[in-house]
């Protein structure tokens, strides 16, 4: 047999060839017969009543087929967009959950809120007609910041939601935390803002829908990370289409990062309208449209304090956060700043008492939901900035204060005071390896060399833990999840021994076609090139929850592993028959079924053939065929972790920050394909660097207009403002996933913002600076340096 390309190998990616040669199949590439084009009319106001919509002129534009409004959807019994995760406040009451109509009904609540959908024979005609839709708005005062939104006199987005407060949530033991603070030798405090981000996958969202009146079948092609969930949410909750008559296809998708893991209004409106007019409709989002309609990320305002004893040992942590969830509840919106934030506040430390309160607040901005990291970068940023502040105030080395508080490797499994139990980890191992790899000890020399050139050099460290592969369903349900969190996989062995995997996760850059093939190759001994992976089509794949939250390998890969084991079990029964042995005596190894202790054996392909050509087969006790399916519901999250170190240089003349070095050591459990894992780490780290140094989503305080609404205004990381990163893994296997794997998709984004921010603050520490909000742009640093210098002069 061919050599095994299994767990730990670095084969090149199977999926590359179609992308390298322009043969990918993205939604915008698809054409359907008789297809027409749709354009959304969106609100130019952040907050307004919709008094009337006059579509007469638009309907007169040549080629126009339909203008659909919120009233039409209401008349058509189309329901609002559902939320997939409800949370409960500290008062025990459920969150406020006002309706989220797919097209505005009576009111718009953010710039970009969809008001009407125009369909025409050509895109140009639809654009012209969209301009001609006359909407009479009654402009209302808008509120975009959370501190303003919760004031008593703030404009209300929803009459039924006082103070725009969706939920007042809490986690942890308040009394124990208060007691910890009472015995503290030192209390470190910080106020910070976690800046709002726009996910910006390079492929804009798109949707094509068609309806076949002869069969009653709807098909939606969507740029989705989870087509089965879209089918469930849209079919069962919004459009009332039976699941068996709705097919959702997410073909090649050009990046997701969370942005494409929600059920969006456009999907429902395009599908509903396609059936109404009896023509397939294509809608492709423009980038500027994506800036005002893709769910955004982060946006917290936080006050936090850390209680320490005289040796710098953490005694207690208190965090108060106000989180912006925008104008409506997006699919997972309320879950991100609560269940994916509070439980991460223990980090890798033994802090015995933690109490966290989060106010989740509506504002006149684009809805906020999961963006790569989703809650966990925000928690890490609070904790790791606060630890640096404490270290500075107490005069303890920043690495040393972390060492003193880290959970020792031997203490795992470790129960934190904030709900989660870590199964495995070695924070100190990661830290020491990162310190060494970054030459932390040699930093003073480098700082002196920079100083000789008139530059300010700083180094920053962040440790982190992440919780990913959300699970188990039972517990998630108690926390408000309205769906399951398992994954499914089918291993279909063909009569000739090749294998097709059908899996409910979605590959949009993560290399699943390669990684999953490695797992099958390892388990079944089937040659790597004889394995194909099918995903993204509800008509092909049984079911699945899709790809988000670093879950694909840990949950989907585990389902695949289980399905492959079932194939082996059945194969053993077939082999026992063919080899005239008992099933208990059959061993499966390296693609061969053997009778233990003999040289009698059958190759995997022979067993496959026998299963499908059952001439000599135990038909009385065994069905023909060799195809097995497994569902896997994890017993716990997985907890990757690590240590990241950033080194920056600031030019005090221009206040421009240059990121010079970046070192990451991450514990992602067992690594299936190191090449792919490194790629995930690179990409994740740069998204976190983007938050720390470049990216900022800003709304005008008064008008609520988005000021950073294009790539000219919203600064994406580019090749020329990044260093070559050093990434390495220091893995402890996960104790509960079948292969010991942990997630790796988000770790980079979780560890990096604090590492970079801590480096920037370190470079300015001599000015008395102890915090700089992100992004650390030249403009912001100029103000920080200027005010700090003035303060110092005054003293």
């Amino acid at each position: 047999m061919a050599s095994v390309i299994g767990i730990g190998a670095r084969p090149l990616r199977k999926e590359d060839r179609r992308f390298l040669t322009g043969r990918g199949n993205y939604v915008a590439d698809i054409k359907r017969p008789d297809m027409v084009a749709g354009v959304f009319v969106r609100s130019p106001h952040a907050h307004a009543t919709v008094n009337s919509i006059d579509a007469a002129t638009a309907l007169g534009v040549p080629g126009v087929l339909a203008v659909v409004t919120g009233e039409d959807l209401k008349a058509g019994a189309v329901a609002g967009l559902p939320c997939g995760w409800g949370i409960t406040g500290k008062d025990g009451l459920p969150m406020k959950e006002p309706p989220h109509p797919a097209l505005a009904q009576g009111k718009v609540r953010h710039v970009g809120d969809p008001v009407a959908f125009v369909v025409a024979e050509t895109l140009e005609q639809a654009r012209v007609a969209a301009e001609a839709v006359a909407v009479d708005y009654g402009v209302l005062p808008a509120v975009v910041g959370v501190l303003e939104a919760i004031k008593d006199d703030a404009p209300l987005l929803f009459d039924e939601v006082p103070n725009n407060l969706c939920c007042d949530w809490a986690l942890g033991d308040r009394a124990a935390t208060d007691a910890a603070f009472r015995k503290a030798a030192h209390v470190a405090r910080i106020s910070l803002v976690n800046n709002r981000l726009v996910g910006n996958p390079m492929e804009p969202r798109a949707a094509i829908a068609e309806y076949n009146p002869a069969t009653g079948q709807y098909t939606l092609w969507s740029t989705s990370q989870f087509p089965h969930v879209v089918r469930l949410l849209m079919g069962a909750f919004v459009l009332n289409i039976p699941q068996h008559l709705l097919r959702v296809v997410a073909p090649d998708v050009g990046g997701g990062f969370g942005v494409k893991q929600f059920h969006y209004a456009e999907e429902a409106v395009v599908t509903w309208t396609a059936a109404k007019i009896g023509r397939p409709i294509k809608w492709v989002c423009e980038r500027s449209e994506g800036f005002v309609s893709d769910a955004q990320g982060r946006d917290h305002v936080t006050e936090a304090e850390l209680a320490l004893d005289e040796n710098g040992k953490f005694l207690g942590l208190r965090v108060e956060t106000i989180a912006n969830i925008g104008g409506y509840i997006s699919t997972f919106g309320p879950n991100i700043p609560t269940n994916l934030y509070g439980p991460l506040l223990a980090g890798v430390y033994t802090t015995p008492a933690i109490y966290c309160e989060v106010k989740v607040v509506f504002t006149n901005t684009v809805p906020v939901d999961a963006y790569r990291g989703a809650g966990r970068p925000e928690a890490t940023f609070v904790l790791e900035r606060l630890v640096d502040v404490a270290a500075g105030e107490m005069g303890i080395d920043r690495a040393e204060i972390r060492r003193r508080n880290m959970i020792p490797k031997e203490a795992y499994p470790y129960q934190t005071p904030v709900m989660v139990q870590y199964d495995s980890g070695d924070p100190k191992g990661c830290l020491e390896q990162a310190l060494k790899a970054s030459d932390w000890a040699g930093f003073p020399n480098r700082k002196a060399a920079s100083a000789a050139k008139g530059k300010l050099r700083g180094i920053g460290l962040s440790t982190y833990v992440e919780a990913c592969g959300l699970a188990p369903s039972r517990i998630a349900g108690r926390l408000g999840a309205r769906g399951g969190l398992y994954e499914s996989a089918t291993v279909r062995v063909h009569p000739t021994g090749q294998v097709t995997v059908l899996i409910g996760t979605h590959n949009h850059g993560q290399g699943h076609e390669t990684t999953y093939a490695q797992i099958v190759c390892e388990k079944l001994g089937v040659p790597f090139e004889n394995i194909d992976v099918v995903f993204g089509d509800t008509d092909k794949v049984q079911f699945g929850m899709g790809t988000y939250g670093s879950r694909s390998l840990v949950v989907g890969g585990a389902a695949l592993y289980k399905a492959a084991e079932k194939v082996i079990l059945k194969g053993k029964k077939i082999a026992a028959h063919l080899l005239e042995s008992s099933e208990q005596d059959i061993e499966f190894e390296a693609g061969e079924f053997k009778v233990a202790g003999t040289d009698r054996k059958k190759a995997f392909a022979d067993i496959a053939l026998a299963a499908y050509v059952p001439h000599d087969y135990p038909l009385e006790v065994l069905e023909p065929g060799l195809e097995k399916q497994a569902y896997y519901d994890p017993v716990n999250f997985t907890y990757p972790g690590g240590a990241h170190i950033a080194e920056v240089e600031i030019d005090p003349e221009t206040c421009v920050v240059s990121l010079l070095n970046y070192t990451a050591v991450d514990d992602v459990g067992t690594v299936i394909n190191p090449m792919i894992v490194e790629g995930q780490l690179h990409g994740g780290i740069v998204q976190g660097i983007g938050q720390a140094l470049f990216e900022n989503c800003i709304y005008d305080d008064i008008s609520g207009q988005l000021l950073s609404g294009s790539f000219m205004d919203y600064c994406m990381p580019r090749a020329d403002n990044l260093p070559r990163m050093s990434v390495a893994t220091h893995s402890t296997p996960c104790a509960h996933t079948p292969m010991g794997v942990k997630g790796c998709g988000e770790v980079g984004t979780i560890g990096s913002p604090a590492a970079v921010a801590n480096a920037v603050v370190d470079a300015l520490a001599h000015l008395g600076v102890n915090h700089v909000d992100m992004p650390a742009t030249a403009n912001r640093l100029w103000r920080v340096i200027k005010s700090s210098s003035l303060l110092q002069a005054a003293e």
Binding site: L12, R13, E15, D16, R17, R18, F19, L20, T21, G22, R23, G24, Y26, A28, D29, N200, P201, M202, E203, P204, D252, V253, G254, G255, F257, E286, R287, S288, H508, G509, Q510, G511, M675, I676, E678, G679, H682, G683, G684, I685, V686, Q687, S710, F711, M712, M716, P717, R718, A719, D720, L722, R724, M725, G748
Partner: protein, 158 residues
């Protein structure tokens, strides 16, 4: 308007509206969907093609402007059976993840390689500032371009 040009080595004659952008002509009318559109402000570079020897953003060029020119898209760079050295380099160095920016990255990189026989990493990074990637952090793209450039020159394909 009627225009004719050489597209990926073949003569094309086509009727276009004066306002049609080159990217839309390629994608919608000529069926070459390898050229992607990732923004509306000429920032992202997913739409880069070659007009003559130069890499250009096809979202910023009217289709009529290529009348009489030689246009190469990613589909014309190499074939699935015989990849161009730059495509091989992106494959071997994991220079792509979701694949959406890849066609533009490849086309920009090929022109870069022709102009820079032995480039530094810094030169690569500077050249790629007009191409956005959200997946890779650019690290393996830069590595791919360095390898691809060397391969193009070694094979006399520059």
């Amino acid at each position: 308007m009627n225009i004719s040009f050489v597209l990926n080595g073949k003569s094309v004659r086509v009727e276009v509206e004066p306002a049609t952008l080159l990217c839309d002509l390629l994608r919608d009318k000529l069926g070459l969907t390898g050229t992607h559109v990732g923004c509306d402000t000429s920032q992202c570079g997913a739409c880069v093609v070659h007009v003559g020897e130069s890499s250009v953003k096809s979202c910023t060029l009217l289709a009529v402007a290529v009348d009489g020119a030689r246009v190469t898209t990613v589909e014309g760079l190499g074939t699935p059976e015989a990849l161009h050295p730059m495509q091989i380099a992106f494959h071997e160095n994991h220079g792509l993840q979701c694949g959406f920016c890849t066609p533009g990255m490849l086309m920009s990189s090929v022109e870069f390689a022709r102009r820079h026989p032995s480039p530094t990493e810094e030169e690569v990074r500077h050249w790629l500032e007009g191409n956005l990637c959200r997946c890779t952090g650019y690290q393996n793209i830069v590595k791919s371009v360095l390898h691809g450039t060397a391969a193009m020159h070694a094979e006399g394909r520059a």
